[in-house]
């Protein structure tokens, strides 16, 4: 079907995607496309209040509605010890509320009925009486004296504080600040937003009453970890749980956590003995499932008289919502935020973080982000631009002066990271060249003279992705390795299965290309399967840009294992010593006589038909890869904006993105990932906002209030690349899905701040909307 189908599809080939066919025909298999015989439908009743005590729940009228099979309340769940469940951050979360509701949209009851329409009708007939309590909607509110105690059910919980966490060295940082010629401060709020994949979350739970086997089709980015969590929560034996993650209509972190709906649907199927489908509507998705960010950050950068950075100090308050359910490695309470020194050689740093409960939805997911690296990158890049403006140094020059140099790699950062590789000056130079920075700077000056408001923003971000290694990185104790199992069939075609789960990233193509490169079987001959825990090897899943760094490495390693066995078989077939064989992609040949050769297909056939004496049959293997370090993708983004003084409207004139994600396996797919991330970065910078009124009502519960950019608003992107291979990854690859969302918000906002800097404006919190820009200009006396 494709003009490139004949290509071998090794590393670096932009072959067209193998998974496209079914999607183009409308034959994808997303969660809501699954229908099982006898399947029932579930609708969830949610709290209209942010904070209220439940006085009573009356389900009689609902239970009497046509088609209703059951009405489930927290009380019923409590009888089965399922009213609460553990979170991924060691807290607990209500499955169905029993005592209080703690955020608007919280799950209170569920109706199971023959059809979706009947379930929703009956849901609306449930009567709940509430005693409304005052709501807490920010960390400041949570700290205030006399603030209502949100988690009054937790033993020993006296206030709304969740955690205090520190990184770096307080003493050396203080000392460095004391010597600083200049200290630049930025206080900024990275507001709450939501990943909002086009497909919402849902499941079809099918507990077989005969065998007790629970098959749960679920929108999950991490099906294996979810299976283990389910086993722990429900007490079902793990071999009797099968989680299947079908085609996912995007995820972006939103589909990592376990949501109460999954648990209730599974319990209902178990009790009723029929499959139960639950599909969220968009409002439910936006108000109750994994939000992102909501960090209030203050950063201080100490600089000496020559413009060299001396130290960084950051404090942040994290708004975690009603339950601490951040999906993140358990050692790190604020995710990987301590990467905040970024691309700069800052000798010392000190970071403090405090987390607070509020009457808002829980979540704290890594929205296209490696566990809070987005917040870190935003803070440092905004701070650096502000410092440059304040010091009167060009933004690019100030960065150049302070970059970690390529010869410092591997670089030990002040907060304990070991950067694997990178050439920051080079990526910056490529980006500046592509933008035509010097020309554009002159253009800006000329336009400003004419009274125009225009500017350039730069961000030179560093990511840290590909968790683990397992000793430091775990999710509820599960080490963050990942896996690949490769089976080569007698005809030389192969099946690759992994512990990850694509949500649109093109795994069926990219990972087949790794096999094509390493084992010589053309990519078109390698089927890739993920997401079924009964068939795929255990893995931690796809998020935090870890699939290529971890499962991609596992795929390379298992291919190499099979190649080693293939060499032995080839030596038998060719009657030549193993060390006399040369490997060329797809075949072994005898050194010096290239026509004495056996292709990998011939070897595969022999693996089942004509083996050397004593060798196990088959050509199959599995590899569990625990990475020795994280990978550190980076890049420089440069943005030009024009601001309309009259309306405050910002227009992005140009967006140049130079990414270095190491070796690119399928450059077309990588470029597609970058486009998508740059659009989401644009969305976060200018549009997307989940906010709350004083009573805790969520503003942003639909696509009219929660603005996603269309093709009309989204800028056109100009991309470029440099390549610094990861020295420890078997293919030199680093992961890329998130770099553009991590790096671009600061670039966009820096451009606006640069444009407004002649008026003395140093910060506008995201999203940078026209009204905020307009008000900022007015506050500085611009009246035009």
């Amino acid at each position: 079907m494709s003009s490139t189908a004949h290509l071998h599809g090794g590393i670096g080939d932009s072959i067209k995607r193998k998974e496209d066919g079914r999607f183009l025909r409308g034959k994808g298999n997303y969660i809501d496309d699954i229908t099982l015989p006898g399947m029932l439908h579930m609708a969830i009743l949610r709290s209209p209040h942010a904070h209220a005590r439940i006085k009573s729940i009356d389900t009689a009228a609902a239970g009497a509605k046509p088609g209703v099979i059951a009405v489930v309340t927290g009380e019923l769940m409590a009888q089965h010890k399922l009213a609460w469940m553990p979170t991924l951050s060691g807290d607990t979360q209500a499955v169905l509320a029993t005592d209080k509701v703690r955020f608007q949209g919280q799950e209170v009851a569920a109706v199971i009925a023959e059809t979706k329409y009947q379930a929703e009708d009956a849901r609306d007939a449930i009567v709940v009486e509430y005693d409304i309590l005052p709501a807490v909607i920010s960390p400041d509110g949570a700290k205030a004296t006399g603030a209502p105690l949100i988690r009054d059910e937790k033993e020993g919980q006296k206030d709304n504080h969740i955690y205090h966490w520190e990184s770096g060295d307080k003493g050396t940082t203080q000392a460095a600040f004391a010597k600083a010629a200049k200290v630049v401060r930025l206080h900024t709020f990275y507001p709450r937003c939501h990943p909002a994949p086009m497909e919402t979350c849902g499941c079809v739970a099918d507990v077989n009453p005969g065998t007790g086997k629970a098959t749960i089709y679920m929108t999950s980015q991490a099906p294996h970890a979810i299976r283990t969590v389910f086993a722990l929560v429900t007490g079902l034996p793990e071999q009797n749980i099968r989680v299947v993650s079908p085609d996912l209509g995007g995820g972006f972190g939103n589909k990592v956590p376990v949501y109460p709906g999954y648990v209730v649907a599974t319990a209902a199927s178990l009790l009723i003995g029929r499959p139960v489908k639950w599909i969220e509507d968009r409002s439910e998705n936006l108000i109750s499932t994994g939000f992102a960010r909501d960090y209030h950050m203050t950063g201080d950068l100490a600089v000496d008289k020559d413009g060299k950075m001396l130290a960084l100090r950051v404090h942040l308050d994290s708004d975690n919502g009603a339950f601490f359910s951040d999906a993140q490695p358990s050692k790190f309470k604020a995710g990987l935020f301590h990467i905040v020194t970024g691309s700069y050689d800052i000798p010392t740093a000190h970071i403090t973080a405090d987390g607070y409960y509020t009457n808002k939805a829980p979540g704290g997911v890594a929205y296209r982000c490696s566990f809070r690296v987005t917040e870190a990158s935003y803070l440092i890049e905004r701070l650096v631009t502000n410092a440059a403006i304040e010091l009167g140094i060009d933004q690019a020059e100030f960065r150049m002066k302070n970059f970690i140099q390529p010869e410092q790699m591997p670089y030990h950062s002040a907060t304990g990271w070991v950067y694997d590789s990178g050439d920051y000056p080079k990526a910056m130079n490529v980006a500046l060249e592509q933008l035509g920075y010097d020309e554009m700077r002159k253009d800006v000056e000329a336009r400003r003279k004419k009274g125009e408001v225009t500017g350039i923003g730069i961000a030179s971000f560093t990511e840290v992705v590909g968790a683990g290694h397992g000793a430091d990185f775990d999710i509820i104790g599960l080490r963050m390795f990942d896996s690949a199992e490769l089976r080569v069939h007698p005809t030389g075609k192969a099946m690759l299965r992994m512990g990850t789960k694509s949500q649109g990233q093109g795994h069926e193509t990219t990972f087949a290309q790794i096999v094509a490169e390493e084992l010589g079987i053309p990519a078109m001959d390698v089927a890739v399967e993920e997401g079924d825990t009964d068939t795929a090897p255990y893995g931690l899943g796809t998020y935090a840009s870890r699939s290529t760094p971890v499962a991609g490495a596992a795929t390379a390693m298992v291919s190499r294992k099979l190649r080693d066995k293939a060499r032995k078989i080839a030596s038998h077939l060719l009657e030549a010593a193993e060390e006399d064989l040369e490997w060329e992609r797809g075949k072994f040949y005898v050194k010096g006589s290239p026509d004495r050769a056996k292709t990998i297909q011939e070897i595969a056939f022999a693996a089942y038909t004509n083996l050397p004496e004593g060798m196990e049959a088959g050509l199959e293997g599995v590899h569990y890869y625990d990475p020795p370090n994280m990978t550190y993708p980076f890049g420089t983004y440069a943005v030009m904006v024009d601001v309309d003084k009259g309306t405050g409207q910002v227009k992005v004139r140009r967006m140049v993105a130079v990414d270095d994600c190491g070796v690119r396996i399928n450059p077309m797919v990588v470029e597609g990932q970058i486009h998508g991330g740059l659009a989401e970065g644009f969305a976060i910078a200018f549009m997307q906002l989940i906010t709350f009124d004083d009573d805790g009502n969520c503003i942003g519960s639909n696509f009219i209030d929660y603005l996603l950019p269309t093709a009309w608003e989204t800028p056109k992107f100009e991309t470029g690349e440099t390549v610094s291979p990861s020295p420890h990854h078997p293919l030199g690859a680093k992961g890329v899905g998130e770099s553009p969302t991590v790096g671009s918000p600061a670039a966009y906002v820096n451009a606006v701040i640069d444009a407004l800097s002649p008026y003395g404006i140093t910060n506008i919190d995201m999203p940078v909307t026209s009204d905020k820009v307009w008000a900022a200009l007015r506050s500085k006396g611009v009246t035009e």
């Binding site: 183009l24 496309d33 329409y117 994949p197 649109g504 639909n702 696509f703 009219i704 093709a711």
Partner: protein, 171 residues
């Protein structure tokens, strides 16, 4: 209520409550699950189908409103069992990632090309501005629709206008 309509060239019918949304009728009654639901409040375009050749959001119409009319869904895009130019365009230009928005995007794209066989980038961006995509940043969707336009033009030049082939047979 009985309802009959022509879907992808074939007469289809059913018995539905008057309140049933067109998208639910397509997906649940007719098992045409290629049409997706991203919001059910007219905000995303994932449910876009063609009603008498015009894109409509099938989450915002009742099945009974379509009585006697003509609907085309993604399942009706194939031409003689082969991918149509709009489908080829999305494949060749990497215009889809998760694929969830893709049916709606392709329906809007194909309707645009009926009206305007040679659209500019801006015209494409405007035409698809009722459809959200979270994965692609739209860059390659624009290219995909241009690719299809070019294929149509080349086919027209070669004398066998691709769009003259009646739709259908794709279910």
């Amino acid at each position: 209520m009985k309802v009959t309509m022509r879907i992808n060239g074939t007469e289809r019918g059913g018995d539905v409550e008057p309140r049933v949304l067109l998208v639910d009728f397509l997906r649940t009654n007719l098992l045409l699950t290629g049409t997706h639901v991203g919001c059910d409040t007219s905000g995303c375009g994932a449910c876009t189908v063609l009603l008498d050749g015009e894109p409509v959001k099938s989450c915002t119409m009742l099945a009974v409103q379509v009585e006697g009319r003509d609907i085309k869904t993604v399942e009706g895009l194939l031409q003689g069992g082969a991918l149509s130019p709009i489908q080829v365009g999305f494949h060749e230009e990497h215009g889809l990632q998760c694929g969830f928005c893709t049916p709606g995007m392709m329906m809007v794209g194909s309707a645009l090309l009926e009206r305007n066989p040679d659209p500019t980038d801006e015209q494409i961006r405007w035409a698809i501005s009722g459809n959200l995509c979270r994965c692609t940043g739209y860059m390659n969707i624009v290219k995909a629709i241009k690719h299809a336009a070019k294929m149509n033009q080349e086919a027209a030049k070669a004398g066998s206008h691709a769009e003259a082939v009646p739709a259908g047979g794709g279910e």
